[in-house]
């Protein structure tokens, strides 16, 4: 028995030691990479006049796909916001995914829609489309509404892809608020590449809680009043400005958030469209598109731009946050295990050697290893004699590392877009970064563990996200 414990002890100690060093180093490398990339991007961007794209023959046509499920109380407002986007050749396709509320009736009434004789070509198989609607009013000629049987978000997007006819499509959550020049900014990287085909671009998601919204536009940016949402501001800033930017530089980006991304329609169709069986369809699609390009020896890039383009309401209740994180964990696991052939497979370049293993070890395994660590420590605490000074030193190290990393993310934000103009907000964010590792982080670990558990027992329910409507929000503000 003692021998077994000794071997186990040896394995855990040395394995964990290497793991911890690797994770710290990877964070440092990413911070440096994204830092240099950000500086370059900001300098480059100071020369850009985005409005030039609108009138140019080089602006490619874009479809905006917005799946909606039971969004009745905000849908009319949200569609108006989508239609007011700055772009020349675009259409908005709203997909009503068999809503149980009065979404469809509201849209039909407000936008004067009528059914058209659309021949739906099911290039990607989806649930049947019940009808396609267009407006009789010329002012809404860019709007097209699809009514289909309920099949989930991925299925709705697939239906939209089937019906859209433009070269690129932007998938967005209908309750997101897009900045007016969002599409212009997302299209630019596509125009910039001449050697590689840009098959997808991703943008930053920002948090709209407590922001003032008027006529479908953000008019005043505030730090959320709710503490849980405030923690997520820090989390998102860190993830988007520090993480994604570095991965984009390495062309190893594995995830473009489902809330906002522009995709090459042709490649998406060839890769098979969104997978409606997974809960993490956004990540799964990117991995599959990458695989398609590599397996067909096509040169490609997936780009990410750090501009804040899309604002969304995040969960401000623990219960809902828990469901969301649970779903993310399951989505990650499904994608990782489905594409296990990539794992350290040199044929797939950065995707196989860096991206997939990174997600495997540092995204999926991290919370698990952390938990094992805590239990192991408790065991040592009970049975042995922990070296307390050393323990506190390491605890301090970990804590300070986390805080410093967050502080750097805040600095990045401050030196680039500085969306939180009030000094108070920035210092509040710094305070949040001090308490985050103690309260918010353990919660996240717990949610991730629950996700793992649910994955194992095969619970694949969607974890419906409850969001407050923006119109309600605006009313509350007044």
């Amino acid at each position: 028995m003692y021998e077994i414990i000794k071997i186990l002890n040896f394995l855990i100690e040395n394995g964990i030691f290497i793991y911890a060093i690797a994770i710290f180093l990877s964070y440092i490398v990413m911070a440096i990479l994204s830092g240099t990339e950000m500086v370059r991007y900001m300098r480059k961007n100071s020369f850009v006049d985005y409005s030039a794209i609108i009138s140019s023959p080089y602006a490619p046509p874009v479809t905006i796909l917005a799946p909606a499920y039971n969004e009745g109380n905000t849908i009319v407002e949200n569609i108006r916001s989508l239609l007011s986007i700055h772009y020349s050749d675009f259409e908005v396709i709203v997909i009503n995914d068999g809503s149980k509320d009065d979404s469809l009736e509201k849209i039909i009434a407000h936008y004067q829609l009528e059914k058209v004789d659309f021949m739906v070509n099911y290039v990607i198989p989806t649930k049947p489309v019940r009808g396609v609607y267009k407006s009789t009013n010329k002012a809404y000629s860019k709007l097209l509404v699809i009514d289909k049987e309920n099949g989930g978000k991925a299925d709705s997007l697939n239906a939209g892809i089937n019906i859209s006819s433009k070269k690129y499509f932007a998938g967005i959550d209908v309750d997101c608020i897009l900045e007016e020049d969002a599409i212009l900014k997302m299209i630019k990287p596509i125009l910039e590449e001449s050697q590689n085909r840009v098959i997808a671009t991703g943008g930053v998601i920002r948090i709209a809680n407590s922001c003032k919204v008027k006529d479908g536009k953000i008019v005043e940016i505030n730090l959320p009043k709710n503490l849980i949402a405030r923690f997520q501001v820090l989390e998102y800033t860190r993830a988007f400005l520090m993480g994604r930017m570095a991965w984009s530089r390495l062309n190893g980006l594995l995830l473009i958030s489902g809330a906002f991304g522009v995709f090459d329609r042709d490649i998406v169709i060839k890769a098979g469209g969104y997978d409606s069986k997974t809960v993490g369809e956004d990540m799964e699609l990117i991995v599959r598109m990458r695989r398609y390009m590599i397996e067909h020896d096509l040169k490609y890039r997936i780009v990410y731009i750090p501009d804040p383009l899309c604002w969304t309401e995040v969960p401000d209740k623990l219960r809902i946050l828990s469901r969301q994180r649970n779903r993310w964990t399951r989505g990650t696991m499904e994608t990782l295990f489905k594409h296990m052939t990539l794992f350290f497979n040199p044929r797939y370049g950065n995707l196989g050697m860096l991206g997939h293993p990174y997600w495997f070890f540092f995204e999926w395994l991290a919370p698990i290893i952390e938990t094992i660590g805590i239990f192991y420590f408790l065991l040592v605490f009970v049975m042995g004699n922990p070296d307390w000074p050393f323990f506190f030193l390491l605890l301090g190290f970990t804590y300070l590392f986390a805080v410093t990393y967050s502080a750097w993310a805040i600095i990045f934000e401050e030196f680039t877009f500085a969306r939180y103009r009030r000094k108070r907000d920035v210092f509040r964010l710094l305070v949040i970064s001090l308490v985050e590792p103690l309260f918010y982080h353990p919660l996240n670990v717990w949610f991730a563990l629950r996700g793992n558990y649910d994955y194992l027992i095969g619970n694949i329910s969607w974890g419906k996200m409850e969001k407050k409507g923006f119109t309600d929000k605006a009313k509350i503000k007044k």
């Binding site: 000794k6 100690e13 964990i16 911890a20 994770i23 964070y27 300098r43 020369f47 030039a52 023959p57 080089y58 004789d117 659309f118 021949m119 070509n121 267009k134 630019k188 910039e192 001449s194 998601i205 989390e235 998102y236 860190r238 993830a239 994604r244 995830l255 990650t332 995204e363 991290a366 919370p367 290893i369 952390e370 660590g373 805590i374 420590f377 040592v380 049975m383 042995g384 004699n385 070296d387 000074p389 050393f390 323990f391 390491l394 605890l395 190290f397 970990t398 300070l400 590392f401 986390a402 410093t404 990393y405 502080a407 805040i410 600095i411 000094k423 920035v426 982080h441 996240n444 991730a448």
Partner: protein, 498 residues
């Protein structure tokens, strides 16, 4: 988003690396036996059983230790002496009591009597020796002692901790400082902006402006003021043409801003350089175009594009001469900007010169522009490029012919359709629809009836409907005998709302 920093507590795992739980060689240190030491003293010093010292060093029952001998000691006890021989224990005047106190913590050790008596005499020197370093009374000395007795790993971590702490504080200061500086610059800007704006407008309305007042010239020596003045002047200039624009150029020259722009254009960092190019181009400083020409095919895309835009504006007679370079690298983004520059000088070059280009990006540009500007004279060269082996070039040629909407090359397009890939097939149908030529009717009909891809069939049906009344009649007659799929296609194609 799924990117949580899952690092906290993780590292706790190896916090117990130095506990008694496991023993591996990494946990050992060497102790060199001094002449006045025995095993028992060593065991006290490191707070470990005598038996353990024996077993760690593979010594047999009747072992002896000699001065200078190297003993391996398990490390967890390294900081223990300080705790053991603490100050209050030192106040006890008999070594024996002190020894008993300490031996309480070494419960399971059997101490031979002979050893006990032996140590009693020798015990005090050990204590007094330790007391030299361990009479730590102040906090800082305790820390120093801890630091000195710590091993390298602990030292590194301690150092990193301090580093992180310092960096968090300095980041805070950086943010504060930046906010203050921004506030100051904004204040400075707003102070001079209105004045400069008035001055520039006055300059515009004066019939024969004489010279720039000395006071303004003095102010422009300051970087911030100059930036405000230059950007104000340039943004006003961008919206003006003719005489007023020339007047602003005059002002630019007289206020001595030219030398600063040239300085920018020769700056070593690319972003300043690009800004300089932009200013020189807008102010039409033609004599400096040599400065720009070196960067027309620069590796740096922003610099390259700015240089090309500047070149176009400074050489209105032959603006696109850089396209002659077979190595030139043009991106769509760059071309988009070149078009804007062309629009500024209001010149549309004949793209015939670059249509046969071997450089793919140049050829694509020429094809697209021939279509956009409807340069009908170039149809022959555009049609020739339909035979290109490159898919993208064929695609662009098809599009260009569609934009020109001249029926003549329709035959070549219909022929090409048979061998093309599916993306280009779609484009061919679109171009043919735009030509709205009745000679396409049989072709559309064939595609509608024999193709398998539904999107192509819908397009061809649309082609029939849009061409003229004969086409529409044909569609109607087909509808009478059609199966369900064809019917749906025809209804879709005829629905003008889609």
């Amino acid at each position: 988003m799924k990117f949580s920093v899952s690092i906290l507590f993780l590292i706790l795992l190896f916090a117990q690396k130095y506990t008694s739980f496991g023993q591996d060689s990494k946990g050992f240190i060497d102790h060199i036996v001094r002449s006045d030491e025995n095993v028992y003293q060593i065991s006290l010093r490191y707070n470990c059983p005598i038996d353990s010292i024996r077993s760690w060093n593979n010594l047999d029952q009747n072992y002896k230790i000699l001065p200078g001998m190297k003993l391996m000691i398990w490390k967890r006890t390294i900081i223990e002496p300080m705790q053991l021989v603490s100050k209050d224990k030192l106040t006890l005047d008999t070594g024996l009591v002190a020894m008993q106190v300490t031996s309480d913590s070494l419960k399971n050790i059997e101490i031979p009597d002979s050893l006990m008596t032996f140590t009693r005499n020798k015990y005090l020197p050990l204590l007094s020796e330790s007391s030299e370093t361990d009479t730590a009374s102040s906090f800082s000395e305790i820390i120093m002692h801890f630091y000195n007795s710590a091993n390298t790993l602990i030292k590194i971590i301690l150092f990193l901790n301090l580093f992180f702490l310092a960096s968090v504080i300095s980041l805070l200061i950086v943010i504060l400082n930046r906010r203050l500086r921004d506030g100051y610059i904004d204040f400075k800007r707003s102070k001079c902006l209105d004045r400069y704006r008035d001055f520039i407008t006055d300059w515009l309305y004066e019939e024969h402006p004489s010279s720039v007042p000395e006071s303004i010239l003095q102010e422009l020596k300051d970087g911030v003021n100059r930036d405000v003045f230059t950007s104000e002047l340039l943004s006003l200039h961008a919206n003006l043409t003719g005489d007023s624009a020339d007047k602003l150029v005059e002002l630019f020259l007289r206020s001595g801003l030219k030398k600063y722009s040239i300085r920018k254009a020769s700056h070593s960092s690319w972003n300043v350089k690009a800004k300089g190019f932009r200013e020189l181009a807008q102010m039409k400083i033609e004599e400096e175009s040599n400065l720009i020409s070196k960067f027309l095919n620069s590796e740096n895309e922003v610099l390259r594009i700015e240089a090309q835009m500047a070149w176009i504006q400074l050489n209105p007679k032959d603006p696109l001469s850089f396209c002659d370079d077979p190595e030139v690298n043009l991106t769509e983004w760059g071309l988009l900007n070149s078009l804007i520059a062309l629009k500024k000088i209001d010149v549309v070059p004949d793209f015939r010169r670059w249509l046969p280009s071997l450089n793919k990006s140049v050829a694509l540009f020429a094809l697209k522009m021939s279509g956009v500007f409807k340069q009908f004279d170039n149809i022959d060269l555009v049609t020739m490029r339909l035979d290109d082996i490159d898919l993208d070039i064929r695609h662009e040629a098809i599009c260009a012919l569609g934009k020109m909407a001249v029926p003549a090359p329709g035959y070549r397009l219909r022929q090409l359709f048979l061998t093309e890939v599916s993306e280009n097939k779609t484009e061919i149908l679109r171009s043919l629809i735009m030509m709205s030529d009745s000679s396409n009717i049989p072709f559309f009909e064939e595609v509608l009836l024999s193709e398998t891809e539904i999107s192509l069939r819908i397009l061809s049906a649309r082609g029939l409907v849009s061409v003229d009344s004969i086409g529409e009649e044909l569609v109607n007659s087909l509808f009478e005998v059609a199966g369900p799929v064809l019917k749906a296609i025809i209804i879709h194609a005829k629905d003008e709302r889609i």
